[in-house]
Symmetry: C5
Amino acid sequence: MSTHRKKRSSKSGLPPGTPVHIGVQKLNVMSVTGRVFSDSFAHVRTIESTEDLAVLAQEPHKKWVTVQGIHDVPSLQRVADLFGLHPLVVEDIVNTEHRAKIEDYGSYLFIIVKLVHRPEGGDSLAVEQVSVVLGKDFVLCFLEGQDNPFTGLEERWSKEQSRLRLLGCDYLAYAHIDTLIDHYFPLLERLGDDIDEVEEALVKKTDQEDLTRLHYLKKNMLHVRKAAWPLREVLSHLERGDSILIQPSTQAYIRDAYDHVVQIIETTETYREMLGEMMDMYLSSLSNKLNETMKVLTVIATIFIPLTFIVGIYGMNFKVMPELEWPWGYPAIMGFMFSLALGMVWFFRKKKWI
Amino acid sequence: MSTHRKKRSSKSGLPPGTPVHIGVQKLNVMSVTGRVFSDSFAHVRTIESTEDLAVLAQEPHKKWVTVQGIHDVPSLQRVADLFGLHPLVVEDIVNTEHRAKIEDYGSYLFIIVKLVHRPEGGDSLAVEQVSVVLGKDFVLCFLEGQDNPFTGLEERWSKEQSRLRLLGCDYLAYAHIDTLIDHYFPLLERLGDDIDEVEEALVKKTDQEDLTRLHYLKKNMLHVRKAAWPLREVLSHLERGDSILIQPSTQAYIRDAYDHVVQIIETTETYREMLGEMMDMYLSSLSNKLNETMKVLTVIATIFIPLTFIVGIYGMNFKVMPELEWPWGYPAIMGFMFSLALGMVWFFRKKKWI
Amino acid sequence: MSTHRKKRSSKSGLPPGTPVHIGVQKLNVMSVTGRVFSDSFAHVRTIESTEDLAVLAQEPHKKWVTVQGIHDVPSLQRVADLFGLHPLVVEDIVNTEHRAKIEDYGSYLFIIVKLVHRPEGGDSLAVEQVSVVLGKDFVLCFLEGQDNPFTGLEERWSKEQSRLRLLGCDYLAYAHIDTLIDHYFPLLERLGDDIDEVEEALVKKTDQEDLTRLHYLKKNMLHVRKAAWPLREVLSHLERGDSILIQPSTQAYIRDAYDHVVQIIETTETYREMLGEMMDMYLSSLSNKLNETMKVLTVIATIFIPLTFIVGIYGMNFKVMPELEWPWGYPAIMGFMFSLALGMVWFFRKKKWI
Amino acid sequence: MSTHRKKRSSKSGLPPGTPVHIGVQKLNVMSVTGRVFSDSFAHVRTIESTEDLAVLAQEPHKKWVTVQGIHDVPSLQRVADLFGLHPLVVEDIVNTEHRAKIEDYGSYLFIIVKLVHRPEGGDSLAVEQVSVVLGKDFVLCFLEGQDNPFTGLEERWSKEQSRLRLLGCDYLAYAHIDTLIDHYFPLLERLGDDIDEVEEALVKKTDQEDLTRLHYLKKNMLHVRKAAWPLREVLSHLERGDSILIQPSTQAYIRDAYDHVVQIIETTETYREMLGEMMDMYLSSLSNKLNETMKVLTVIATIFIPLTFIVGIYGMNFKVMPELEWPWGYPAIMGFMFSLALGMVWFFRKKKWI
Amino acid sequence: MSTHRKKRSSKSGLPPGTPVHIGVQKLNVMSVTGRVFSDSFAHVRTIESTEDLAVLAQEPHKKWVTVQGIHDVPSLQRVADLFGLHPLVVEDIVNTEHRAKIEDYGSYLFIIVKLVHRPEGGDSLAVEQVSVVLGKDFVLCFLEGQDNPFTGLEERWSKEQSRLRLLGCDYLAYAHIDTLIDHYFPLLERLGDDIDEVEEALVKKTDQEDLTRLHYLKKNMLHVRKAAWPLREVLSHLERGDSILIQPSTQAYIRDAYDHVVQIIETTETYREMLGEMMDMYLSSLSNKLNETMKVLTVIATIFIPLTFIVGIYGMNFKVMPELEWPWGYPAIMGFMFSLALGMVWFFRKKKWI
């Protein structure tokens, strides 16, 4: 398994429709799981060869195929061919730098959704691309790596009377998208907690570390936003119900998912505004602190520099300096300096500096 | 009664349409009040059991049901079933993190509005979710807790010849929304007063405390705005009159409410701009003050540091320093230093620093 | 006459359509002037009682009624009833916190326009609400107080062959709006002059006072903008000619007024951008000045602090300090210090600090 | 010729459609040049009196009339009457504060375009208003003053087989607009050169003068933008071809002019963004320089202030100070101070301050 | 070959449709390559004269003509005449300051795309204009200079069974655009790497150099954005399929290219936001550093200035200063100063300054 990231530029010059894997290879071997089901039965089949899949594809029942690992382009191509996918669809599946989108190829819908999550123990976000193809009697799901966000879905599917089996393939495809959308909420909650934490810290003190945390939070929000915005278009396209593959009964659910996406986007925007405000506040605090520091310096310097000058005068070695001879010269000058200092303190107090 | 906030993430992995209460539980026991009325009569019934409610739901007259407390999902489910609500509606009612929205389910309209108010003695805002369901002959109203913003409404309803009884259920539902919108005005007035106060303070002085107040005001405006913006869509949807549940006579009122929402949004935006300006002014004031401080320091240092150097010269202990022997050396050097200081003062005055 | 401002919140809890005066009461007694006219005659009648008005309302000719003072809700209600206005119209007339708007009630158009002017000797703007109702054969005009911006209009009306009498009531209503729009131009000119003045001041010097003036100008622009933007919608609605009350011949005039509003809005936006730029320039100037101040301080300190250290060395009282015994010690050290100072000056000159 | 600027406010209170000249009078006497032409001939006639013009207006051929000087409202009115222009058109021609616009009066199109140029030896821009009226067989062009941007056009027109004569009046009107649009390019090039110049200066040094230049450039861009944006609407209106006065063959040319306007607007926006970036960079540079200055001051002060304290100690006149008696006291203390200074230098070097 | 840039202003005053080369001349002699092909054959012909081209243009097969060098306007004109192009098309081809656009001339489509690349060893971007004309049976491609981004395309074309030969001319034209779009990805990757690099540098240290790099990156993003945005319109126009020249089978490919452009634009916007954030962070870091510097200065000055004053007192030469006579005077005063310094250190530690 290579951790090297294949870049988009590696594709430059190739004819369009040439599938080239772009992104980090997250799995050694592609694994395919097939599921055949109707209202009354549900079978899971591990697909070991192209033949297995060809048999599955011919089944007269509803089919649900999950492909994990998308770096193995030739194998993927064979899967795509069995289900009659357009070359551009394969190209899009293996290029993990796509934004969420939906494309209507008539007999099937091709949907890309981005899964955003924060890996344990890290500050930065991981983005994975999930591609879903919804056909008349099949749903194909392509995952980048071993992590399967749909285990809960598979469990619910395996139960009898599950809506996932009773309702059509469109509901199953919707359930995929809904599951991915649900992944955004815990993420946003954690980001929200982080924002509150940093905000509290900012009110108390102001240091460089908070600035770095603010910066990373802003960057994360940028990624969440980039992933979430196009989802809105995807769901609004589904909701409009242009495709015959979407049944009217599923549309209420899609509208619900659409509302969730709007909520995600709005929360993201609110967080971004809050982070912007916090940046402003941070900068103002810095200015305030600088002002405070400078006042301390100025008060000290303004009081002591003139006094130091005065004692310097009486440190001069002139032969003729009558004051030096006076018996009360020393106490007199000390008293004068004390009054001067008091006057300055009074002056600064009046200016509200101390 | 638990003050623990149930989070959205607690719902992750559940099938869509599963109602899970999200938010702070504000009440121990759900309380339901039913009202049956026609042009000629008006009865209030406290609902103690599902049976009571079932009886009420069968009444051939107009019905108004107020539910307080939404954490008890099974009871709520029973209420919903009696009035034939879609599972997604129940899910939305118990999830208090929704934005204001309207959904047309054909035989009934489902409306969510956010009530924003500032609890006594606090600076931060409280947001509560109110769900209203408008059916052909019933209005259901779901409140999060014990506070009932509709007591005025109930009083007016109880009076004979009240428009709330004479006009249809759509007018009653509108009256709910109108009441909630009216709650925004005193809030905005108080925020406006606060803004004026902080502005006045900023013109006089500039300290860290004002910055914190500015920050909280900005945050509050963000919340008001987040709650008010989607209201515009809700009312514009109602005004378009797509639903057969809205009678033409009610539309003039809805247009009026729409105008109020626009006014709220516009005031919010104006306040936000004013707060932005004040932030700019605050930062400029800080810079101005720093400049002033630095000028004081520079004037003092520039006058006295050279003088201190001069008196230092004549404090040196060289054997041969002819000036020290001169009888007029001391007065001469004092006079020279005095002229130097005067010259500097003149220079700074010319530069308009003092 | 009370100068107390009645607030919007005083209305909370009242049923919609309840007219409550919101704003400052600007007049003790409501005064009503009626005008009856056709192509051939023009009578002015002072209305003293509801009966007078009832007689006027029955006249078969074109009618123009000007109401000054809107705090007396019951009297106003009677006026409204005579001309068949909807309760929501009366509510809107007495609530002076509305934005400019137009509402088509079928048999009459209800228009609110804001009059913005700067009272003599003040920096802040005054906003007054003018409501105009255009019916088939009448124009009603409601003013907040004694100031009547339409005296010029009344004069032109009183002249024979005046277009105000020859053309229909729609032209008269248009003339009201046009007059109010014309009030924006001298205001913008004065604000423009103020902006030029502050800009000139900023190029020369930078002080706190300019900042305050900038701030007030920005706030004024915010008010002008808030008043002018909705006017655009009002006129574009009128121009579309949806209402049968507007004759085609009047539409060229309305388009002209629309152009003026666009011009006002554009000037406002340009002024706002200019003020934004000036704020940036102000802040940059402050930074520049701080830099200058700090350079002076640094140059002085960097030259004299080391020199003071050197003279301090030879002020030490060690028994054995051979240099002190040298006859040329004093001139040597003075020469050394002079060279050092020169070197520093040269260094700062190279760095372009002095 | 008066250089006094007549202001918009001088018009307040006059009925709409009253033409009042607003702007600076740029010419003593209005001069009118008439051109009569067909495919086969082209005559130029200087118009000296209204009668001359009346004769011209009756000609059965295509007519092109250029009016220079628009302050003489009665004469202008007579011109307008001869060609049947609406009073509002005359009002718009003499009011030079209009934005570019197009108005379709059915039998003729009225177009206002702003000519923006930078007079020789000045930094600020001059804006002149050019009004073009396109009728079925005539083109009227109204200029503010003596400067005629259309001399090139007149020359091309005078040549035989010129498209200006062969194609219809719509092409001639288009040629006016195209000529004015072409005036924007050299202006933008000069502004672009200025921007490059200031940018280069900013990378090298940072002074107040650059700030002032930046400010003036930003202001100029604001004016160009204000003049160019409405042009887009004008041309897009012409391109849509709603008017029967525009022949299909001319539309390709209009689309071309539209592209040029889009290019102008885009360049303007790019320049504005670049100026914004430069402002940011300027402010950052100032901060950087302040940091540098403060580091110099801090390094010097931190090294020498403690040393000065030490030499001060041994300058005290206490009777009993054993160190003063030590023969190696002086060299020892000098060595100690030298090490201290070295240590500080090392410390600052480690902190990368020097 | 001249490196002088011909400017747009050189064209001022010429009639529209006059082709004038605007931009840098990148080639001495215009070179034309013709390609004739059908499903079964593919010939390349170097065009040496107008006659050669005339012969080519008459071929009954599909034709692909690549013109390199666009400064030679008369030759270009001859090419255009042979393929029946409108004068405005030629004018647009030779003016290299156009933005990407598409124009439908009925029998052919005229498309301009900007190629943005970063020449080796340079920080600034180079923008070249590529014009493509798609006719019923020909594709013309006009390049500014010798660099040919389509060599890969030509290679694929020369292979048998290439889609470029089998599919229609519209696919060939699409392949041109797709190739140019593909050039954006490696560029964006390099810019992204640069951004990461600068960001990493900013977290560690803050110097003027990073600011300059940030500035250049921002400027580059501005250029990429300016080139990419109009591409969106071009492809969306093509995708809508208004032109009969585009076959339905090609539209899936165009939609794919459209997605790529959206991806480019989105990446550009994200980068721009990230650069904006980095600028903010940079400024905050500067403020932080200034604060740190000032704290060091203030701590040092506040500790040592008072101490220096004290030692100054005992350096005075008054006859009568009893403390000087005390045997324990020296150690006492040293101890006092030590405690004072300790106290100050404690105070600053409490304030968290050190």
